[in-house]
């Protein structure tokens, strides 16, 4: 049997890395179990001529399509939104776009301000110092002075506007609508050993230059130097409990499929909004027959995935295509609630560059824009490097019927029951999507684009997996308390996107990590009374 550790962290992604780094200063014995591998920069697709093809292979964002040995399958057949993630050191930060908005202050007070869903048990001001600390660790480029958000001060200048950003900016100014250069964790200058961006263009499937922040190159080097142990190719099957109803450790499989038990004084889950409820439900026992930490019955419920229509148009000249980071600008013009729009809450518009040669052909053929046969070449030349693309990042409200359960049949390669997703888009969100699509079409038209189209069924799948073990002060209405500790199991913490109460309308990684740092800080402040 392994020696007991003080803290066992499950998952090394956005939140697991942050909590490991923060707790390292306590000098406790900390171990992180990660089911994936370290990924080297030389492994990333943009090193080779097949870089675009690998987005549909070993660097696909869908675990079902990627199908690495280190992945687990997810049954998302009963969901219009599919699951995106990555299993490896760095987790989803390996394959995110590095877009870096924070939640707005109003996002934490949805019930109070708009009369729906629930308020968070914490607020923006509570998290603000942890956002700042996280920005310092991840390295953020952007521009201070955005009137749509409380003051913040990115350390590096923003990604250049380029031809694409200039088109968007001119259009937004004509319309009189808000825009601002996106905060991003793409380094635009040397930053803490990271080289600056050289516009490889393919940020999502990993940055060969190392300019994009992922936790394997930001938090983990610091955490490892401080003494944290990170054990890869360890897939956790179950969190165990003792006769006192406390977590006693975890059972995991190593790379050879050998089962081990790792005892621990404290267990911290950082497995994302699908992996965490899956593991809690797989940890059912006679003491916890409905799954661990599930006396509320809410484990797996209230799944939020951010429906994200993409609106595409084409200009009459070549713009940036994939010769720049995908992230460009954001607009918060329609972010805060305006009841006259016919829905509550709102959305961020995320202005993207175009796409690569191969992806343009594949996606345009699938959308019916690009014919096969004799007209193929003529039409293709009117598409390639002419694409403008706006994403509508819709706030997804919590609904209990949107949920993660255990699939009765599907299992991973170790025989562990897989997660099953049931998810539908609410009427409020549908109205929000239509509003956003119409605004994006207006913007593209003013920007000089034609051949404009929006997909309402084949949505972007951003991999924002939120809400399935929500935080709150009421044990009947939440899974963890206001500082991330399970109401039921007093040495079990959750730090990933599961604990979100509502989803906001922004990319979640900066907030996931700020929450992880906040919870780590709460643990450090309460060490003497942690289990009371």
């Amino acid at each position: 049997m392994n020696d007991i550790v003080d803290v066992l962290i499950i998952g090394s992604g956005a939140s697991g890395a942050a909590v490991a780094y923060s707790l390292a200063e306590t000098k406790m014995r900390i171990l992180c179990l990660e089911q994936g591998d370290w990924i080297k920069q030389s492994d990333f697709p943009s090193n080779g001529r097949d870089w675009e093809a690998r987005r549909y292979g070993d660097f696909d964002t869908s675990p079902n399509k990627r199908g690495r040995l280190t992945d687990y399958p997810v049954n998302d057949d009963n969901s219009i939104m599919k699951v995106a993630n990555f299993n490896g050191v760095g987790g989803g930060t390996i394959v995110y776009t590095a877009h870096w908005p924070r939640m707005h202050p109003s996002d934490f007070r949805v019930r109070s301000l708009d009369g729906i869903a629930d308020d968070w048990p914490i607020d923006y001001r509570t998290l603000e110092p942890f956002y700042v600390e996280n920005d310092r660790m991840m390295g953020v480029s952007g521009l201070a002075g955005d009137p749509a958000f409380p003051p913040r001060y990115p350390a590096m200048p923003p990604v250049p506007l380029g031809k694409t950003g200039t088109r968007y900016a001119q259009a937004m100014n004509k319309l009189g609508w808000h825009w601002w250069p996106s905060d991003t964790t793409v380094a635009t200058t040397e930053y803490e050993g990271r080289a600056p961006c050289i516009n490889l263009g393919h940020c999502t499937p990993g940055c060969a230059q190392g300019a994009k922040a992922s936790t394997d190159i930001t938090y983990w080097p610091h955490a490892l130097r401080a003494g944290v142990e990170l054990r890869t190719r360890c897939r956790v099957k179950e969190i165990t409990t003792n006769e006192h109803g406390m977590a006693s450790g975890a059972i995991y499989y190593d790379a050879d499929g050998i089962e081990h038990f790792q005892p621990a004084e404290v267990v911290i889950m950082a497995c994302n909004g699908v992996g965490t409820p899956r593991l809690l439900l797989n940890s059912a026992s006679s003491r916890f027959p409905n799954g661990l930490a599930n006396s509320s019955g809410l484990v797996g419920k209230n799944l939020m995935l951010h429906p994200w229509p993409m609106v595409v148009g084409y200009t009459d000249e070549r713009v940036d295509g994939d010769h720049a980071p995908m992230t460009s600008l954001w607009s918060k013009e329609f972010y805060e609630t305006d009841p006259s729009r016919g829905f509550v809450r709102g959305y961020m518009l995320q202005f993207s560059r175009g796409t690569g040669v191969v992806n343009e052909a594949i996606t345009s053929a699938a959308a019916g824009r690009l014919p096969w046969g004799k007209d193929h070449h003529r039409v293709y030349r009117d598409l390639v490097y002419r694409r403008l693309m706006i994403g509508v990042a819709c706030e997804d409200l919590p609904e209990e019927h949107n949920r993660v359960t255990l699939d009765p049949v599907l299992k991973d390669s170790n025989g562990i029951p897989a997660a099953k997703i049931d998810y539908t888009i609410s009427e409020n969100t549908r109205r929000m999507m239509e509003h956003g699509i119409a605004r994006a079409e207006e913007i593209l038209t003013v920007a000089g684009a034609t051949n404009i189209s929006a997909s309402r069924t084949l949505l972007n799948y951003p991999g924002h997996l939120l809400g399935t073990a929500r935080m709150g002060t009421d044990p009947d209405r939440s899974v963890v308390n206001e500082w991330g500790r399970s109401h039921d199991v007093k040495n079990l913490f959750i730090v990933d996107g599961s604990i979100w109460v509502t989803s906001g309308g922004v990319n979640p990684t900066s907030t996931i990590q700020a929450l992880a740092l906040y919870i780590a800080d709460q643990i450090k402040q309460r060490l003497a009374t942690l289990f009371d």
Binding site: A148, E336, R381
Partner: protein, 123 residues
């Protein structure tokens, strides 16, 4: 599916080098491609005479197998050096040379900077 074109100076997807790349790259897509070709063969009645009509029908109907067949062809066709050069691009991976992105005119932000605060305070 992608014919050669004298006008654009490009080979077709049936070019020997491109076809070899397609066959050599099937990998995990092998089963889907085989299924799509099976559908194709059944629709054409197994002969050459109905091929064009069958191809049109199959591509219109779509489905995962046909989608995979199309993707496999496109991802190999559009990495062929001759095709890439015909588009005015360099046949190379993004790393390590990268690309240049023009800074743009940041004075475009002036009217946005002048706007009053837009975010809501929360109690």
């Amino acid at each position: 599916m992608i014919p050669a074109s004298e006008e654009f100076g490009v080979p077709g997807a049936d070019d020997a080098a491109i076809f070899a790349d397609i066959v050599g790259s099937l990998g995990r897509d092998h089963a889907h491609v085989r299924a799509a070709l099976g559908q194709f063969s059944a629709m054409s009645g197994g002969g050459f005479s109905g091929l064009e009509e069958a191809a049109g029908l199959l591509l219109t109907q779509g489905g995962p197998a046909v989608g995979t067949l199309g993707r496999v062809i496109l991802q190999c066709y559009y990495r062929d050096d001759r095709v890439i050069r015909s588009l005015g691009l360099e046949p190379r991976p993004p790393f390590p040379k990268g690309h240049t992105l023009e800074q743009g005119d940041w004075s475009l932000l002036d009217p946005v900077r002048a706007r009053p605060k837009m975010w809501r305070d929360a109690p």
